[in-house]
Amino acid sequence: MSLYRQLSVAVALLTFSLTGMAAELQVEHAWIREAPPNAKMLAGYFTLTNHGKKDKILVGASSSAFEKVEMHQTMEKNKMAHMQQQSKLTLSAGKSLEFKPGGLHLMLIHPLNPIKAGQSHEIHLKFSDQSEMTVNFKVTKHSGDTPQQHMHDNAMHEHNEMKHQHDH
């Protein structure tokens, strides 16, 4: 094989493996709750599904829209709600991790610019195997903007559930 051909094959394989990796992980309903203009901490929520055969471990996140992003879980301890920082979250093969109000959430610390409903911000999810996934989070006032949006998300979720069962 000529060098050119070897290089082409290598690039093709690399691209295939990268896209293959991205296709294994699916994000649904990624949103940031719009907060008061003086809020220093916001929350990001989403559902992450691992359609692959290997477990993935989420170890952190970052965004150019916020000074820092951390993963936290709201928990009840001694009759009080408190936030427990999570340094790693295992996303088992075939399973989903749900970040939602009152539970797991991305703590978005110190927005660098005002965050308003209608905007989209990229958050990069980092995994223990050095891979990353960039997710677009939509800023909304509520978890579902319109009834149609809510239905669309439900339909997507059902579709994914069916696919999920088939893969299993």
Binding site: M41, L42, T74, K77, N78, M80, A81, G102, M107
Partner: protein, 226 residues
């Protein structure tokens, strides 16, 4: 039983029914007066709240003791300002990313469900900050104004806030998260104080506006029977 003894028992029973009003003691040890007769029937009805409210209603709702706090405009905030209104108290802090904004958003939706009129005017939503150090009056004003311009921020010294919270089963503590930053661990429930200044109901999060509104209307009807 001999007939004379039966008659005596009946007479004694009737005499007992016409005694002066019976004193009741509620949970906080304060005495209240309840007249008998037709009111005793009323009290018997009130003794059994609707089943779906039993989880949120406080048994023998205790009256509030006096307290001294401030609102976010700097005016004193005391018992008098709760009187005659239905007061929903949300406890939290403005640096809270998850529970507090979620709850406040639902409380705004809750108020929006009420048509303009007496009910809406008599329903107050108050945000009691558990972090008066960082939640200055202007921070509270800006923060709460985003959710609803009618929401009132309540603040004071940490000690005075603890004193206000403890009888309402609301606890809070500070936890260092890093060298500069601390978080506030806190009870997340929403507390309802009735127009007669009683700790009347408690709602665990998550709050859903429509569900809360349905319960609220029933609670008002139930409170009238007391």
């Amino acid at each position: 039983m001999p007939r004379s003894l039966y008659c005596l028992a009946l007479v004694l029973f009737l005499v007992a029914c016409h005694q002066s009003p019976e004193k009741m003691v509620n949970a906080s040890g304060k005495t209240t007066t309840a007249a008998l007769g037709s009111d005793s029937r009323k009290n018997n009805q009130a003794a059994l709240p609707p089943e779906d409210l039993q989880e949120v209603l406080i048994r023998n709702p205790p009256g509030l003791d006096s307290f001294y706090l401030h609102d976010h405009l700097g005016a004193p905030f005391t018992l008098e300002r709760l009187k005659g209104k239905w007061n929903f108290l949300v406890f939290g802090y403005t640096n809270c990313p998850d529970i507090c904004p979620t709850t406040l958003a639902e409380m705004d939706d809750f108020k929006a469900l009420m048509p303009e009129g007496k009910l809406k005017n008599d329903t107050q939503v108050l945000f009691v900050t558990l972090d008066p150090k960082r939640d200055t009056k202007s921070e509270l004003k800006q923060y709460l104004g985003y959710f609803n311009k009618g929401f009132l921020g309540i603040t004071g010294s940490v000690e005075d806030i603890h004193r206000f919270c403890t009888p309402l089963d609301i606890e809070f503590s500070y936890e260092k998260l890093s060298k500069e930053v601390y978080g506030v661990n806190h009870s997340s429930a929403v507390v309802l104080i009735d127009p007669e200044l009683r700790y009347f109901a408690r709602f665990n999060v998550p709050i859903y506006a429509e569900e809360l509104f349905k319960q609220y209307k029933k609670i008002i009807d139930y409170q009238k029977t007391l």
